[in-house]
């Protein structure tokens, strides 16, 4: 069965803990569920354990305490190459993975490892390049592209694997406004195709606009786990503050005006209009 036929899968951790060989603890008592086909953002300061957490989903790191489940099955000691067919991870630095002399072959690497060949492979590569807007560069040498384009290339190479779950590690770093918009569209498209999308990000506005749920990590523990409205609503502010995160401006202004939780500009505008309609009728 072609992997693209599968619906999105669930990612779960059950009291997950991780301690590095040298004794430093990176995660403690992390229990969370990423529902199939949902869009979840993981936020927190550098060193809070975000990158460590996601590496458990494809087996790069093995839990030292607790369990990790992918699609209901325990990860245990399954090979990374195996899990990579279920959970794709797109890392921050494209220059730590690009090795082909042509964009096209770079994107083909992942799906080829998953067993795709011939026309099916070409089609998959073309679709991924199209999705990130690099089709016209299919035969270019990756190092003739700028850094932000190489980041898109790295993303395409993971998208091409058509994994039911995909993790994006800081996808908007270094992107300009158009790049960020593209990433938002891609996340929406991936989710529309039923895939589970998890992203690590420092950009709260991007998070509020693009995702459904937010998980905040602090010191290796989950301190907030809720919808975007809950995570950026006033009750959560003390927790956010404790880890030096600011909710988006729209959320702050909305709360100050008594409009409830309005994490995005659109939410804010809707709430204001709602309030005005009420006052006009009243």
């Amino acid at each position: 069965m072609d992997v693209t036929d599968r619906p999105g899968i669930e990612l779960t951790t059950d009291d997950l803990g991780f301690v590095y060989p040298d004794g430093t603890r990176a995660l403690a008592n992390v229990s969370l569920t990423v529902a199939p086909g949902s869009r979840v953002a993981i936020v927190g300061q550098n060193g809070s354990g975000k990158s460590t957490l996601v590496r458990h989903f494809n087996g790069l790191l093995r839990a030292t305490e607790g369990r990790v489940l992918v699609d209901g099955d325990e990860v245990g000691r399954r090979h990374v190459a195996d899990l990579a067919r279920m959970v794709g991870i797109s890392f921050q630095n494209p220059d730590r993975q690009i090795f082909s002399s042509r964009v096209r072959s770079e994107v083909a690497f992942g799906p080829r490892n998953a067993g795709l060949r011939g026309e099916a492979l070409d089609a998959r590569v073309a679709a991924a390049l199209d999705q990130v807007g690099l089709s016209r560069h299919a035969d270019t040498n990756p190092y003739d592209l700028g850094f932000s384009e190489r980041k898109l290339l790295a993303l395409a190479s993971v998208i091409a694997m058509a994994t039911p779950a995909i993790v994006l590690d800081e996808p908007t770093t270094g992107q300009d406004a158009n790049g960020v918009r593209l990433i938002r569209e891609i996340v929406a498209q991936l989710a529309a195709a039923g895939r589970t999308v998890v992203a690590i990000s420092h950009d709260m506005t991007f998070v509020a606009q693009t995702f459904e749920r937010v998980i905040v990590l602090r010191g290796g523990r989950v301190v907030v786990d809720g919808s975007v409205a809950e995570a950026f609503g006033e009750p959560s502010w003390p927790l956010l503050e404790s880890t030096f995160l600011d909710p988006p401006l729209a959320a702050r202004l909305g709360a100050r005006l008594g409009l409830g939780s309005t994490p995005t500009d659109a939410d804010f505008v809707t709430a204001i209009k709602g309030r005005m309609n009420l006052s006009h009728d009243g």
């Binding site: 590496r55 494809n58 790069l60 090979h79 990374v80 190459a81 990579a84 067919r85 794709g88 991870i89 890392f91 630095n93 220059d95 730590r96 993975q97 690009i98 090795f99 082909s100 690497f109 992942g110 490892n113 998953a114 190092y143 790295a154 190479s157 993971v158 694997m161």
Partner: protein, 231 residues
């Protein structure tokens, strides 16, 4: 050098004892053991070759098949082994007690020049830098399905995706690193500020001179036949 120059038992034995004492005193005995193990093979072959195959020796102790173990051979073997051991121990002592960055720093202070010390330190730093980078690359490629846990063929196929980015990034970085060096005033003239002054007491200096002159003296004495009375 003393161990090798002067014939007989005394010299290598004395040197070895002194070196071992220093090793223990420096507290590096446990880390010294791997060095010892490394010389084991050499020592065994020295013992065997010399004991059994020493030319023109007649004082046979025992025989193993067609090979005769001779007393002369055994003596020569043991002395040679002691020499090698003494030498290896002194090398190990140096390696284990000297921090390269301190050594390089001190040499620079005495006139080595910042370029040479930079090259040495960067060369040494290459391993952790590339190791860290290789780890990141391996993570990315494994996440794309590269099989690193398979048989030989699988591992060979993995060579390009693993080594490729490593080599590529190292090459593309050269220009950036050069610019960064310039930007940190590396090519500014003058002597670099000394960060640490390494205490070099009169006693240490005297000891160094003593050892140096002593070695020359001993070698000269040996060549002149003055030390024939030593066992």
């Amino acid at each position: 050098m003393i161990a090798f120059a002067v014939r007989g038992w005394t010299a290598p034995l004395v040197v070895l004892v002194v070196m071992l004492a220093l090793v223990v005193w420096a507290g590096v005995f446990r880390r010294y053991l791997p060095y010892l193990a490394a010389t084991a093979l050499l020592l065994v072959s020295i013992m065997l070759v010399n004991t059994f195959l020493y030319p023109d020796a007649t004082d046979v102790l025992f025989s193993v098949g067609p090979f005769n173990a001779t007393g002369t051979g055994l003596t020569a073997a043991s002395q040679a082994a002691l020499r090698v051991l003494a030498f290896a121990t002194s090398v190990a002592l140096f390696a284990l007690t000297t921090r390269t960055d301190e050594l390089v720093d001190d040499l620079e202070r005495r006139g080595l020049g910042r370029r040479a010390s930079f090259i040495i330190q960067t060369a040494i730093g290459t391993v952790p830098r590339l190791t860290e980078r290789a780890r990141e690359i391996t993570e990315s490629q494994r996440s794309r399905g590269l099989n690193t846990e398979g048989g030989l063929l699988a591992r060979v196929r993995g060579l390009v995706p693993l080594a490729g980015p490593l080599v590529l990034s190292s090459l593309t970085e050269v220009e950036q690193r050069t610019m960064a060096l310039e930007a940190r005033a590396f090519t500014a003239p003058g002597k670099r500020t000394v960060l640490r002054a390494y205490p070099d007491s009169g006693a240490q200096r005297a000891l160094r001179w003593l050892l140096f002159l002593g070695t020359i003296g001993l070698v000269a004495a040996e060549l002149a036949g003055l030390l024939a009375w030593l066992p």
